[in-house]
Symmetry: C2
Subunit: 223 residues, 2 copies
Amino acid sequence: MPTSPQLLIFDVNETLLDTKAVTTAINKEIGNDEAADKWFQSLLHYSLVETVTGDFADFSKIADACLEMTANNYGKDLTPKTRETILSEFKKLSPHTDVSEGLQRLKNAGFILVALSNGTLEAVNEQLKSAGISQLFDRIFSIQSVGKFKPHPSTYAYVLDKMEISSDKAVMIAAHPWDLVGAARAGLQTAFIKRSGKSNYPLSPQNEFVAEDLIQFSDQLIH
Amino acid sequence: MPTSPQLLIFDVNETLLDTKAVTTAINKEIGNDEAADKWFQSLLHYSLVETVTGDFADFSKIADACLEMTANNYGKDLTPKTRETILSEFKKLSPHTDVSEGLQRLKNAGFILVALSNGTLEAVNEQLKSAGISQLFDRIFSIQSVGKFKPHPSTYAYVLDKMEISSDKAVMIAAHPWDLVGAARAGLQTAFIKRSGKSNYPLSPQNEFVAEDLIQFSDQLIH
């Protein structure tokens, strides 16, 4: 039986916010329905390339570089202006339909809610504000303060340190198995939110919670 | 002017060996022309997820787990037997058409040739033997000996240490920008081989060599 959680740490892009607007824009410009998924996977990969080689660049800068590379891999050339227009969609994403109610329920039940994103602090603040959910969080974190991308253990340790809470009382909530692998290995409990097109990574440690959305997750957590 | 190189370190999959047989098998089973690319990107990402979280699993085991996950993301369920059959194609890949001649020219010119793969030592030995090019290498390395995946700096340092050569006298040769980013940051020279569908990562340090294939690369290196 896991320790009763107090702190809920939410991943942002895809977990809380629907990235469809970015996906649609990329697939349209590149002319392939899978291009955006490949771009996002390369973004996640290259963020860790930076981390394992001991370097760092803002997530938005890597996102832009990966978009240029992905387009080139398809034989397309996107101008800096086009890439900027596409990536600006990130700033005004809508939350998934279950998110506002799910977060409110968890907040009302007394949990401490924070966000932790690979994006810059400025970007994640702007995103959550634009999505109308920033007031539900006690604090908003970016891995920028750590200089290493999730799922590096330092990123989770940083949040636990700032919130003065032990790892076993925290739950990392994400639609990304790689994020939960890192959190679990850093001693946190994990909740996998099965957003469309996402499934579990078979080598993951077992998740304490698996839910279709945040409302189902809140039902599991609130007794 | 870079130091005149002595040691040439070759990446294996995609750089030397044509992975088309694996790609075709995956795309056919999953029923989407982009599925294999997405699987390979997730394999690269999850190998680094293992490395940054301080864990390790054989590349073949991660490849299998990512294949199961990728298929599930497309709503498909591949049996362990099907996945094994698909991934067994890796053992008998053909070299790209320029590879045998390119390697032979470089060997004749007096360079020391080694291979360095994220695959297990057993796998890479079997692959290069099956492809008929293993005899052209002075030594074959797997990152398995290091317990961290490329592009972690330890993987390149391990080869340099075993070959007793300084980083500035070595060239890493790959069709993957992420591999070259790591090698460059570890102090090696780099050669980007522009295989079909591959292009440069804009945040890469500049490559000393860029070539369409190994014959063009050998022309650049042999004066």
